[in-house]
């Protein structure tokens, strides 16, 4: 009895050990970059740098979290950038009615987009790539329509902009929001049946259905969550820059996908980790941060354009490493 349960545990560990190794790699690289930065630049670990890093990048962390959940089910959500742009406009338009109106209005708008995505994927059975591509176009269109093709100033009379600009207990509010979402996401995935359900759907929809899992509802749930988180990111965007930005968010979806992939989550679904996704998002964002510091040293001068080249190179190295690990597993 004991032996069989022991071998079960071993069996459960072995097939995914390469993936865990991949995740470990990402986290190691994050720490390596941190140490590199701390040794090389004077103010890298200053509270100012850390806090502004978190304040700005919390938006990207939020959409990466939603994207990770969607990708774990074997889907993809290309609409997060457009959704964030649209909800930033909605939030800015509602901000004169108080911060709760802006916050909840933006989140609700994101949730609606997510639910529509989920319904198109589950009811019309349109591939997630196409469904969310259409949603991306539609949300940008809505953002431009609502804003009249220009950025919409958020109200400074209410506390709305505090959501993006102020601190709470010495920590940026956007970072608090991101941390709270990641904690909830981690609990949902690792400590709650819904996490098993998400991964089971990603492993194989037909099997999951045969096991009696409510596949449609699970899918609807992850797309709705992704929309909600993108909505939250849009609210933070509007609050942080004091304006709803209908043309912002271009390429956010690909940044989020990169973060998820770098975090060791496979695009085929069925596996994934919340913590490694966060590490992936931090890693890609840190590339930009370090580039800024490097330029500040004045030894070399790399234009901001290098950041996408370096990000692409990072992505390349990571996916090749992952592919080698995975292929090694399949030929085992």
């Amino acid at each position: 009895m004991q032996e069989s349960s022991h071998s079960n545990i071993v069996a459960a560990l072995i097939p995914r050990s390469n993936l865990q190794l991949a995740r470990l790699c990402v986290i190691t690289v994050v720490f390596a970059l941190l140490i590199f930065g701390a040794l090389r630049y004077d103010n890298f670990l200053s509270s100012y740098n850390i806090l502004s890093f978190l304040r700005y990048n919390s938006m990207f962390m939020l959409i990466a979290l939603g994207m990770a959940l969607v990708i774990m089910t074997g889907g993809i959500d290309l609409s997060v950038g457009g959704t964030a742009a649209m909800t930033s406009v909605v939030a800015a338009l509602l901000s004169p009615y108080g911060w709760p109106a802006g916050l909840l209005g933006g989140m609700a708008a994101g949730l609606v987009v997510g639910i529509v995505n989920g319904l198109v994927v589950t009811r019309l059975r349109i591939q997630p790539f196409i469904a969310t591509l259409a949603a991306m176009l539609a949300t940008y269109g809505m953002a431009l329509l609502l804003s009249g093709n220009q950025s919409v100033s958020a109200s400074y009379d209410t506390a709305f902009v505090s959501i993006g600009q102020d601190d709470f207990l010495g920590f940026p509010i956007p970072a608090w929001i991101a941390i709270a979402c990641y904690v909830v996401g981690w609990i949902a995935l690792e400590r709650h049946p819904v996490g098993r359900r998400i991964l089971a759907v990603g492993d194989g929809e037909a099997t999951a259905k045969l096991m009696g899992l409510k596949v449609g509802r699970t899918l609807l749930g992850v797309y709705a969550t992704s929309g909600l988180l993108a909505g939250l990111a849009g609210v933070i965007l509007a609050a942080q820059f004091g304006a709803g930005q209908p043309t912002e968010g271009v390429g956010w979806e690909l940044f989020a996908i990169s973060s998820v992939v770098v975090g060791g989550t496979l695009l085929s679904g069925g596996v994934g980790s919340i913590g490694a996704t966060l590490a992936g998002a931090i890693l890609l964002a840190m590339v930009f941060n370090i580039l800024n510091f490097e330029n500040g040293l004045g030894v070399i001068s790399l234009s901001a354009y290098w950041q996408s080249v370096i990000r692409g190179a990072f992505l390349l190295v990571v996916v090749i490493l992952q592919a080698k690990l995975m292929n090694g597993r399949s030929t085992r």
């Binding site: 349109i126 591939q127 996408s308 990000r311």
Partner: protein, 331 residues
């Protein structure tokens, strides 16, 4: 009895879906033209035709390559970035930034050849990642999507390159027998790809690899080589489109050339009736799909609907088109 009636009823309905999936894009195209003839003033003019065709030409050229990639079950997100690279290289060569010569006999052929070869090599790199490492096409081409535009921006330092070179710009601004050159190029590309798919063994192999890669490999098709080939073609065609765009504008802006092109191309392919699951390639459908999307936009703009609303309509169009295709496919 009831069951028999049911099946006949549903088969009739599915026939409608099948009919729509085959001719729906064409029908939409004809309806749009009919609507415009009635509603839009001055629609039936050569100028309208030229405006629409020149706007659609680059999308079609890229979308043809995308169709071939999608036919193998892949996708190419890097096309817009490859356009930017090709579009940055050509003016650098023409202006002598790279080779420090502006001798037209040397510079002109190089301005065509070098960008296309580079784009083809980068396409090969995409295919290499997909075949050698078995990386999913979305992720593999995401690498160059991210890095490619950055490379173009770094090469040009993000600056706008303004140039004037009539022989080079003939690809966009010239006319052959009264037809704009870029439209002619588009027609040639479409015809060549349609012939490739319908009339050659390689075309069959592309479809076979997309339909069932394992079966294709077991029947002796060099699946990996076929896949690399379609990514190279997609890269070269993206490069060509990049050259046309910068020639048309007399300027190259690495930040903007080809921006969002991957989405336009994928939308054209989807509306044109090629399923994203692979195994099929409807080149003429892609041409019609791109034309329908362009015509919808033109129709809305010409009738006073803002561009933003046109985006929403485009989104609905994509969903409806793909829904019809898939309903037909389930029979």
């Amino acid at each position: 009895m009831i069951a028999a009636e049911d099946t006949s009823g549903s088969s009739r309905r599915f026939n409608l879906a099948a009919w729509l999936s085959r001719y729906g894009t064409l029908l939409a195209f004809l309806l749009l033209i009919a609507f415009n003839v009635i509603a839009t003033p001055n629609f039936l003019s050569l100028q309208t035709l030229n405006v629409n065709l020149t706007q659609v030409a680059t999308i079609v050229i890229v979308a043809v390559g995308m169709t071939l990639v999608i036919a193998t079950g892949g996708i190419d997100l890097s096309v817009g970035s490859l356009m930017a690279i090709a579009g940055a290289l050509a003016p650098m060569i023409l202006l002598g930034t790279i080779a420090s010569t502006t001798n037209p006999l040397l510079v002109l052929p190089l301005a065509f050849i070098v960008p296309l070869v580079v784009a083809g090599l980068l396409g090969w790199f995409n295919g290499f990642l997909v075949t050698h490492y078995s990386i999913q096409p979305i992720v593999a081409t995401l690498v160059l999507f991210t890095a490619g535009r950055g490379i173009a921006q770094v090469m040009t330092n993000g600056n706008l390159q303004v140039f004037k070179n009539p022989p080079f710009q003939f690809v966009a601004l010239g006319h052959v027998f009264g037809i704009p050159t870029q439209v002619l190029i588009m027609i040639v590309v479409v015809a060549a790809a349609a012939f490739l798919v319908k009339g050659t063994a390689l075309g069959r192999q592309i479809l076979a690899v997309g339909g069932n890669e394992k079966a294709a490999r077991l029947s002796g098709i060099p699946a990996k080589r076929v896949k690399r080939f379609v990514y190279v073609i997609s890269g070269v065609l993206a490069g060509l489109a990049g050259l046309i765009v910068v020639a048309r504008n007399s300027a190259s802006d690495a930040n903007l050339v080809g921006l969002g092109m991957e989405l336009d191309a994928i939308a054209a392919v989807a509306v044109g009736g090629t399923l994203l699951t692979g195994g099929r390639a409807n080149i003429i459908g892609t041409l019609l799909g791109a034309c329908v999307i362009q015509l919808v936009r033109y129709t809305l703009l010409a009738n006073g609907v803002p561009d933003a609303a046109a985006l929403v309509v485009k989104a609905a169009l994509i969903v409806v088109a793909v829904y019809i295709q898939q309903s037909a496919d389930r029979t």
